[in-house]
């Protein structure tokens, strides 16, 4: 699904990612853990195509297609989804309007017609139930006045509507209390399938109690310094990131 080879990224003259390689197969859930400043968010931004980063070496591909060459919206339409750490507010634009625009962008890209208004409403209502959200959310402005938990749930709702094949969750657990975390995790788990892959970026092990990954990578100073199974996350939780640094 997603193939990252020796990826090197700079911000300005500063090297942030120093040769990352990673392969995620269809249906797999990978977690990337690491301390602050290790390059986790840079990785998610570069994959989604955010401006301000320079790829100085290596490659990123989705199903054999070169991601680096694609505009951000093209990546999204191809099925790469980023759940943001800090979802932005868009005053005056209703949630349901954004959801519909997003779904139609994907559908038109696939050569399908725009979704019928009634079918769309049925679909949305089904998905918001899944995330334990109130229908009122649909008619509020995107993320405006939302609590931290509501914003994160809203990200997952967008994911559920767009049905991407490669989902990147950037610090989705940050700012969530345990109840909200469980709801968000349940939403994500319900979207797991054999054809859909996940890359979870997180500082803490907590999220991985609820969304159990197949593979865990540890990122430190722009490099993956250790890869293992879910047990690696538990080890990190006990020993802290300092342990990895010493070993590497």
């Amino acid at each position: 699904m997603l193939s990252i080879k020796d990826l090197q990224v700079n911000i300005g003259d500063k090297s942030i990612l120093k040769g990352i390689s990673l392969d995620i197969n269809p249906g797999e859930v990978h977690a990337i853990m690491g301390p602050n400043g290790s390059g986790k968010s840079t990785l998610s931004h570069v994959l989604a195509g955010k401006d301000g980063y320079t790829i100085t070496g290596g490659s990123i591909e989705i199903e054999g297609q070169d991601l680096a060459e694609m505009a951000p919206e093209k990546r999204a339409r191809e099925g790469l989804f980023l759940a943001f750490q800090y979802p932005v507010e868009i005053p005056g634009v209703s949630n349901i309007y954004l959801l519909k625009a997003a779904l139609n962008a994907v559908r038109l890209h696939k050569g399908l017609s725009e979704v019928d208004a009634l079918d769309f409403l049925t679909l949305v209502k089904e998905k918001i139930k899944l995330l334990g959200m109130d229908e009122k959310f649909l008619y509020r402005s995107v993320n405006q006045g939302f609590s931290g938990g509501e914003k994160k749930r809203n990200e997952i709702l967008q994911m559920a509507i767009m049905e991407p094949k490669m989902c990147i969750l950037d610090e989705t657990d940050s700012g969530l209390d345990i109840d909200a975390l469980q709801i968000v995790a349940a939403g994500v788990n319900s979207l797991r399938s054999e054809s859909r892959s996940f890359l979870m970026i997180t500082h803490y092990q907590r999220l991985l109690d609820y969304i159990v990954p197949d593979v865990v990578h540890v990122l430190s100073d722009g490099q993956i310094v250790k890869t293992g199974g879910p047990e690696l996350a538990l080890e990190l939780e006990q020993k802290g990131y300092g342990w990895i640094g010493q070993e590497a």
Partner: protein
């Protein structure tokens, strides 16, 4: 983090799509302005003598005036002797029905999306079509007449209802009000006239569609709307013009009169040709619009979406004379490329318990300058007057400007005047977020701008709301962020 150099590349620029020219045989005055021209105009219009007197009085006053220079716009001097003050498509004979209107003209309006054929009743909107200096057609006249509503070209009203015209014309915007209003009073050619009788709720939306076609011609339209006691009317106005390299002048005057318990809702979607992306050509839109809420409990609501014109100078205002009168102003003004807009409103509180609301949304893109200029004046007599003003500016890119010039004069201590203003920029994070949800950068900008304008759009009648949203999208195309 160091510099993040977002360059949303020059997005595909869509051209102004109302810029075509209709080839018609026209009856056009030679350029130039003097008392003979005005007399000839009055004769052409078959006007009663009082009207010529009125025009000449305005003209003589205009000669003593100079153009206003306080607005935040830069205007090349206009040579008023270079403009033709009358141009009308040649008509072979008096028209008895719409079927006799030149098919070329009907076609023009069809291209603009305004079907004039009365059969197309589904639209449910009565239209007065003003082409250069004359009204070429007014639909649904008969049906409106049944309920006593008069909706006709003002040139016709001057002949048919001279008493009504005499009673109200110039009572809201006096001839000597300002430079452009005086010029308009001297040379106005056509426009719409509306009279809603006592107790009547106008059964359909009334609209005027202004089209400048001829080159080198000024359009000086005059609109007068009178809502008699306890009546109600919603009026829409749309404007377009061909693309031409030279600037063209549009100096209109609109007067609204609301008597006791009457309500007028006046909506404008202004899409005059804005000039090309280097700032060449475009319409000078210098307009005086004012409402007099003369009666108790009367209400006037202005809603405007201004996306066109090279330069806009326009302040739809309300004089709240009657006790408990209400004035509202909802505005979206978008400027792109080299467009300049200095627009806003005046709310003059005279009566007791008068209330006014001002919601202004200014959007600047490209190298454009966008100013809000608003006056809230509370006279000594206006006990318990209240005003709320909210003035938001949105910048797209970093070469444009947004300015706010609020003026507040309060002479009555019990008044309550509130003013809020914000300036924001479309953030790269917002754009990236939308793109990550599959939207192109261009659609993302349009989505964010539409969201910004929502409070105003919801005031527009349905047909216009859709048009306004589409228009914003088109007007922003080619603007880059970053």
């Amino acid at each position: 983090m160091t510099s993040s150099t977002t360059e949303i590349e020059q997005l595909i620029g869509k051209e102004y799509d109302k810029g075509f020219v209709t080839n018609l045989e026209a009856d056009t005055f030679l350029p130039g302005l003097n008392e003979e021209v005005i007399t000839a105009l009055s004769v052409k219009k078959n006007e009663p003598p009082f009207m010529l007197e009125w025009r000449l009085k305005a003209y003589r006053h205009w000669l003593t005036m100079t153009p206003p220079e306080w607005a935040f716009v830069s205007v090349d001097p206009i040579d008023y002797q270079e403009i033709s003050y009358y141009s009308a498509p040649k008509q072979k004979k008096e028209l008895k029905s719409l079927d006799e209107v030149d098919p070329e003209l009907l076609d023009t309006y069809k291209k603009l999306g305004i079907p004039l054929e009365e059969q197309e009743r589904l639209a449910g909107v009565a239209v007065d079509a003003v082409f250069d200096s004359v009204s070429v057609a007014t639909t649904f006249k008969g049906k409106l007449k049944e309920v006593g509503v008069i909706f006709c070209p003002i040139s016709e009203a001057i002949q048919e209802y001279p008493e009504l015209v005499k009673q109200y014309l110039g009572t809201v915007v006096p001839q000597e009000d300002n430079f452009y209003a005086a010029l308009n009073s001297a040379v106005f050619t056509d426009g719409s006239f509306v009279y809603i009788p006592k107790g009547v709720r106008c059964p359909m939306e009334l609209s005027t569609y202004f089209r400048i076609n001829a080159s080198n011609t000024g359009q000086f339209e005059r609109t007068l709307i009178i809502a008699d006691e306890s009546s109600h009317v919603s009026y829409l106005e749309g404007c377009t013009a061909p693309m031409r390299d030279e600037n063209q002048l549009h100096a209109a005057v609109v007067e609204l009169v609301a008597l006791d318990n009457a309500q007028i809702k006046y909506s404008t979607v202004q899409n005059w040709y804005p000039g090309d992306k280097n700032g060449k050509g475009g319409i000078y839109n210098f307009v005086t619009k004012r409402a007099d809420c003369r009666g108790v409990n009367s209400k006037v609501s202005w809603t405007q979406v201004e996306t066109g014109s090279a330069i806009t100078w326009k302040y739809p205002s309300c004089v709240l004379t009657g006790d408990n009168a209400v004035g509202e102003f909802y505005s979206v003004a978008l400027t792109n490329n080299y467009q300049q807009a200095d627009t806003g409103t005046k709310m003059i509180h005279v009566g007791k318990n008068t209330r006014s609301t001002i919601i202004s949304k200014g959007i600047s893109a490209g190298k454009a300058q966008n100013s809000y200029r608003g006056l809230v004046k509370v006279l000594k007599s206006a006990e318990n007057a209240r005003n709320y003003t909210q003035c938001d500016s949105l910048l797209v890119g970093d070469q444009c400007g947004a300015h706010t010039f609020p003026y507040v004069e309060v002479k009555q201590p019990s008044a309550n005047v509130e003013h809020e203003a914000t300036t924001s920029k479309i953030s790269e994070d917002q754009l990236f977020f939308c793109q990550q949800r599959g939207l192109s950068a261009e659609d993302a900008v349009s989505l964010i701008v539409n969201g910004f304008c929502k409070e105003v759009f919801k005031e527009l009648p349905m047909e216009f709301a859709v048009e306004a949203q589409a228009l914003l999208g088109i007007s922003l195309e080619g603007s880059s962020v970053g």
